[in-house]
């Protein structure tokens, strides 16, 4: 919409490639990934156009044979030959069509994986934006719904339009032998019918928004009723009636809408039908007249009549497929818009370095890690067995990134923010690392740097940090406290380099973070976030999050996290599957064990800075205490930042920061802050009052 308004900056969330451009896009896709498809498509077009042509000659040849027995033998063989050809062509046509189906269908997977991997390459902040999430959803839907996917619509639409046009032309040539005037009239009628059908399609397209909305509501209500997670409440609060009454209303609405839609559609269909009856009657009259005039014989009568009545079929086909192309093209534009979003620039080594999955610094030597002399192995798992890139991955890379120039221009601007490209390496940093926030401002409502439109994320709007200054010293343990919405999680994301500040700088040992490749900055952190990421991979992969892992270190990490014993008992190896997605006997963990598993991941990476974003909310006190002890033990010599609602954790830290409204309201040790008697003391008091009272009682007891 916006882009249509004119010269304003075009939103990167919308693309307006034309239908031919989008057809070209998918055929390039086929050429790159399954070149044989182009031959199959060509074969289908040729054969498909010829099938109906042969079909109308069959009765003519049969009648010619019967009507002129004198020329019997020749006509007999002519009919036989045509019949045989028809059998062959039909067989070929169906085979080719079926192959096409399987090829297109099998390749949707590639489109989907390209989309997904792209979502891992755009800046994380962008993936949180409402528009980007919506765009992802639409792009995904344009791929996953089989015969409603954009790939289906464009593949089938294109080929069917070409075939129908060729058939149309072939039939016209048959008829033009009879009479150019009649052919012209028929063409005119075809145009009228085309216009009518096109109007019908446009009319139905108008309903698409309503359809989508009502469909979404129906799906939501139905799925809610079947949602196992909500099942307890549905039963105890008797919510079924509520949801059902809502659903019934939606169905009633849907019925009304469908009726309205079909009633109007029927008008178009009936007019078209009447025109066809009119045409057929005229055709009979004209052809009978021609026979009586002696211009044509019975065989030709049948041939021409077949050609005339076949006409409308092709017109219908063209219309239907043009409609399909329009919709496919529209859906593909979402997909292309997503694939063309600016990508995160990971630094001088850029994507390659990142994606080779260079292992995180090994526990064996922090020294080795600081000198940065690790072997740069190919992280591709296939490399283990085949020693080369997976077939097709290269083409995917090129294919998904598309045209490179405009995006790299974008992201370059965004990332370097005026400075040059990263030229330092984290190997230059001495451990432990000191982090400084210098005059940092960050706001969720600041739009994507690459485009000019506003973020509509109201829930997270507003400036979180404003000229924020803070230094976390090397080796310091810092606890971050504050009420919900104080900005703690935002702070963590800025800290790890997942967010980039809009103003100000973040320094690592006094050096601007942007001077380091971002991929290397990420390597500085072992972080545990609130949302557990426990993918259904092999246990070794899940611990290391690398395609290749060090067996010894995996077990050491699992051991330090307190999982080794139970894993060994249960016969779990690093080659076991996590979760039951693939193997029924896959590893499943309880809530507490999951936290330990995430701890193992942080231990395995053993990065110089540890960040914990409230990882123990659902744990019982003893488990919580144990986990904290483990983290503490392991964070020796490291810089560490903890977030927790439970003030207990703050007691471990060298310094407590109380965040409120994006500012450090209070800071100091626990004792200092208690002594100060302000906000922190108040919060602590609230939580500890009961415990303290008991402490006094306890003293009294003893």
């Amino acid at each position: 919409m916006k882009a249509k308004e004119g010269e304003k900056a075009v939103s990167p969330y919308e693309k307006h490639y034309s239908i031919p451009q989008n057809i070209a896009y998918y055929f390039r896709f086929y050429r790159k990934n399954v070149p044989v498809f182009l031959w199959i498509a060509l074969a289908e077009i040729l054969v498909g156009a010829v099938v109906p042509y042969i079909r109308i000659y069959l009765p003519k040849f049969a009648i010619d044979l019967v009507a002129a027995p004198a020329d019997g033998e020749r006509l007999f063989w002519r009919l036989g030959g045509l019949g045989l050809l028809y059998v062959l062509v039909q067989a070929l046509y169906q085979a080719v069509r079926e192959s096409k189906y399987h090829i297109y269908n099998g390749r949707r997977n590639d489109l989907l994986s390209a989309l997904f991997l792209k979502s891992l390459r755009v800046p994380y902040r962008d993936t949180e934006r409402g528009e980007v999430k919506e765009l992802y959803q639409k792009s995904m839907e344009s791929v996953i719904y089989g015969d409603n996917s954009s790939l289906y619509r464009i593949t089938y639409g294109t080929l069917d339009v070409i075939m129908s046009v060729i058939s149309f032309v072939l039939y016209s040539t048959v008829l033009s032998v009879l009479s150019p005037v009649v052919t012209a009239l028929l063409l005119a009628l075809a145009l009228v019918q085309y216009a009518l059908s096109f109007a019908r399609i446009r009319y139905l397209e108008w309903f698409r928004v309503l359809d989508a909305d009502i469909g979404r509501r129906r799906r939501y209500l139905s799925n809610s009723m079947g949602n196992v997670k909500a099942a307890k409440e549905i039963r105890i609060f008797g919510m079924k009636e509520w949801l059902k009454s809502r659903l019934d209303k939606v169905f009633a609405e849907m019925k009304r809408l469908e009726k309205r839609k079909r009633r109007s559609e029927n008008v178009f269909v009936q007019i078209n039908g009447a025109l066809t009856v009119f045409r057929d009657a005229c055709a009979y009259a004209y052809l009978i007249w021609q026979v009586f005039q002696g211009n044509i014989g019975a065989g030709d009568f049948v041939l021409y009549f077949g050609a005339i009545t076949g006409f409308s079929g092709f017109v219908e086909n063209i219309i239907r497929n043009v409609g399909m192309l329009r919709q496919g093209s529209n859906d593909l534009n979402y997909y292309r818009a997503y694939l063309e979003l600016p990508e995160e620039v990971l630094g001088s080594e850029s994507l390659e370095a990142w994606t080779t999955g260079k292992e995180a610094p090994g526990s064996e030597s922090l020294e080795a890690w600081t000198t940065g002399k690790e072997p740069l192995g190919s992280g591709y798992p296939g490399a283990r067995s085949t020693g080369k890139e997976a077939p097709g991955s290269e083409s995917l890379e090129a294919w998904t990134t598309g045209r490179k120039s405009p995006e790299s221009a974008y992201s370059g601007k965004e990332d370097t923010n005026g400075s040059d490209r990263p030229r330092r390496h984290i190997s230059e940093l001495t451990l432990p690392v000191e982090i400084t926030f210098q005059d940092v401002s960050f706001s969720y409502s600041v739009p994507n740097a690459a485009c000019g439109d506003d973020s509509k994320d109201k829930a997270v709007s507003g400036q979180i940090f404003r000229h924020f200054n803070l230094t976390i010293h090397g080796g310091e343990k810092v606890a971050l406290v504050g009420v919900n919405g104080a900005g703690k999680t935002t702070f963590v994301k800025l800290l790890c380099g997942i967010y980039e500040p809009q103003e100000g700088r973040i320094l690592l040992n006094g050096i601007d973070r942007r001077e380091f490749p971002r991929a290397e900055v990420y390597r500085l952190f072992s972080a545990v976030f609130q949302e557990k990421f426990l993918p259904p991979f092999l246990v070794g992969e899940s611990v290391s999050l690398q395609a290749e892992w060090n067996e010894e270190r995996v077990w050491k990490a699992l051991g330090d996290a307190g999982l080794k014993e139970s894993f060994t008992e249960r016969g779990i190896t690093s080659d076991s599957y996590y979760g039951k997605d693939i193997d029924e006997a896959g590893v499943e963990l309880s809530g507490g064990q999951e936290q330990r598993f995430l701890l193992a991941r942080a231990l395995y990476k053993d990065a110089p800075i540890l960040v914990l974003d409230e990882p123990t909310a659902a744990l019982d006190p003893i488990a919580e205490s144990e986990i904290y002890d483990s983290y503490l033990k392991f964070s020796e010599n490291k810089t560490a930042v903890f977030i927790s609602h439970r003030l207990a954790s703050t007691r471990f830290s060298d310094r407590i920061l109380l965040l409120e409204g994006g500012r450090v309201l209070e800071e100091g040790t626990h004792e200092e802050l208690i002594a100060r008697g302000q906000r922190y003391a108040e919060m602590f008091q609230v939580q500890s009052s009961y415990y303290e009272k008991s402490a006094r009682e306890k003293e009294a007891f003893s």
Partner: protein
């Protein structure tokens, strides 16, 4: 339950027929008028087809036999108009059928979900049902679910009608075939028959291969080799965008690429998923195409050959050839489409089984005594319980009595049976041993829907719906606005409510954006407050709170605690929390361990047992708060 591999077995015709009958019956129950509509539509279409065929035969015969121009013309135009009317009616029918079909397909989907909402929770949460649902989903991965049934029914009905039409309109062709010199006729017919039968064999062979690879149930070994997580991840089923933080920080891009892209590019993967099914399917369709071509071309050839031997007028050649071609094509269609239809129906069997599932829990008929004074006592008497499919007891020989107005806190380690006790109390499950008594009566004897009215619950994993705020609080489409507002304020949602009022919709605001884009986003803490308000609104005599403050910050938590009395009032309340400080609201604290009740008493009493679990739990937290 039908296993996937069984789909491939060649079922006896009768059994196939049974599946088809059940499925069609289900569709009839959803919409009585649909099949009659479909039949009339097919009849009109077939009628129009034969009408056109007879007309062209008549016209050609007339032309060659020299009927008068005017008569021929009138007949042609008249029949054209007649056929036009037939078609107009059939278009209208089709249009109505399309509406009915779309609505039915959606109703069908919704019916399954509604059924899930009706099942006993224990059944819903059982491995059996999960298996059933997984199978349903797998069976509907290929094809278009119930639409497939519609797709194959239409050609089946049409084929039958065309067969009838072919015999009625062109049956005399057989007289010609049988007449005259019999030997060549028999030879020609035999040759065609042999071709036809051979062709069918080939088609069926490939059909089987195609279906096998499409629906074959992979072994564990195959799953390991050929699983790519592209769909699970990309459709956000097994991955959330928030996981992107870990992917970036841990440099997991390569690993993600391996599982979502590279694996699916390997040659053996492609052979397995694409090449093998294609061989069968392409073979089937090539053979089908050849059969279709043979039917049409062969019919013209045969009839022309007959006509040459004399006795058949030129126009009738068209009629006979058309009928013969229809005869063959319909035969092919009946045989092949029957297989597909039977398969499509067999794939519905899982859903039909789900829909006909009946609850197994005993349902008593005793009315629940309604007491305005809330005088109820609850007693767990020697209760033991194992989750279905689990070997370990979640609760073991568990006994506990809860008196009117009492506030009970339950503490214990993760997995000690706290939430299980709540679930048993609400009769989401029945105990394996022992019984739960309310006012001395086994709860199984009460009417279930009346019994659950006794409880207001806030579950650990509470869920809100993306509908109106007030509806969520009232758990109903009808709500008392003021009461809902009061409850929201009591649970600490007041500030946000004021803001929502300023924004316009107030308690009529929709939550989240799943249902409508106009919905408002709320934070986890706010959601928790709404869940608490919902429990308050219900005004049930028992209040059960399972970790109701886990997502709240200390101040918000304190606020809830402060309102605890308002929430629980004079009611009997059970409170589960990992934050032991909350226990201090309750006079009585029950400590669970390994499914047993190990300690019961007041805070002071329990703390006095220094080796007890309570003391350990308490100290694990309290140590941080006590001035050293």
């Amino acid at each position: 339950m039908i296993q996937e591999s069984e789909l491939l077995k060649n079922l006896p015709f009768r059994q196939n027929l049974n599946h088809i009958r059940t499925t069609l019956g289900m569709i009839r129950r959803m919409d009585r008028g649909y099949w009659p509509c479909q039949a009339v539509y097919c009849l009109l279409q077939t009628g129009a087809e034969y009408g056109a065929l007879i007309l062209s035969a008549y016209v050609v015969n007339g032309l060659t036999a020299g009927v008068d121009f005017g008569g021929l013309m009138r007949a042609a135009v008249l029949v054209c108009i007649l056929l036009g009317v037939l078609k107009a009616v059939s278009y209208a029918l089709k249009s109505s059928m399309n509406i009915r079909k779309d609505l039915m397909a959606r109703r069908y989907d919704s019916m399954q979900k509604e059924k899930l909402a009706e099942l006993d929770f224990a059944l819903l949460d059982s491995p059996r049902l999960r298996e059933m649902q997984e199978l349903i989903q797998r069976n509907n991965n290929w094809g278009s679910g119930i639409y497939t049934v519609f797709w194959y029914m239409e050609p089946m009905i049409t084929a039958v009608l065309r067969l009838v039409g072919a015999v009625a309109a062109g049956g005399t062709v057989f007289r010609y075939l049988g007449g005259g010199n019999t030997l060549p006729s028999v030879c020609v017919m035999l040759t065609l028959a042999v071709f036809f039968l051979l062709g069918m064999k080939v088609v069926q062979h490939y059909q089987k291969i195609g279906l096998y690879f499409m629906y074959h149930f992979p072994s564990l070994e195959e799953k390991k080799r050929f699983t790519s997580h592209t769909w699970a991840f990309a459709t956000l089923g097994r991955y959330q965008y928030q996981n992107g933080k870990d992917v970036r920080i841990y440099g997991a891009y390569d690993l993600m690429k391996h599982w979502t892209h590279d694996k699916a590019q390997e040659k053996e993967y492609r052979d397995y998923y694409v090449k093998r099914p294609v061989v069968g399917a392409v073979g089937e369709w090539a053979a089908r195409g050849a059969m279709g071509g043979l039917g049409t071309a062969g019919a013209y050839f045969l009839v022309a050959w007959l006509a040459l031997r004399g006795g058949i007028p030129v126009g009738t050649v068209i009629l006979f050839a058309g009928c013969l071609a229809n005869l063959l094509e319909s035969g092919v269609s009946l045989v092949l489409d029957f297989q597909e239809l039977a398969l499509a129906c067999r794939k519905q069997a899982g859903i039909l089984e789900l829909l006909s599932l009946s609850n197994e829990m005993y349902r008593g008929s005793l009315p629940m005594e309604k007491r305005s004074d809330g005088q109820y006592t609850i007693e767990f008497s020697n209760v033991s319980f194992r989750y279905p499919g689990s070997e370990n007891y979640a609760l073991r020989h568990f006994s506990l009595k809860l008196n009117v107005g009492e506030k009970l806190a339950i503490v214990g380690r993760n997995g000690s049976g706290k939430t299980t006790m709540i679930k048993l109390l609400c009769r989401l499950y029945d105990p394996d041993e022992g019984e739960i008594l309310v006012n001395g009566v086994d709860i199984r004897k009460f009417r279930q829907e009346e019994y659950v009215r006794l409880f207001s619950v806030v579950f650990q994993d509470f869920q809100l719906f993306s509908l109106m705020l007030a509806e969520n609080v009232a758990s109903s489409a009808e709500f008392e606005g003021e009461r809902a507002e009061r409850c929201l304020k009591d649970s600490g949602f007041g500030d946000r409510l004021e803001k929502l009022k300023e924004e316009g919709e107030g308690i009529r605001s929709y939550l989240y954006k799943d249902y409508t884009d106009a919905g408002v986003e709320i934070s986890g803490g706010e959601a928790q407050k709404i869940a608490i308000a919902r429990a308050v609104y219900k005004e049930a005599p028992f209040v059960l709170l399972d970790e109701p403050t886990a997502a709240l910050d200390p101040l918000a938590e304190a606020e809830i605690y402060a309102n605890f009395d308002k929430i629980a009032g004079e009611k009997t309340a059970v409170y589960i929390s990992h934050r032991l400080s909350s226990c201090r609201f309750c006079k009585k604290i029950a400590v669970f361990d390994g499914g047993r009740l190990v300690q019961l008493g007041s805070h002071e009493e329990l703390l006095a047992e220094e080796d007890g679990i309570y003391a350990k739990l308490w100290n694990a937290q309290a140590q941080y708060y006590q001035t050293v």
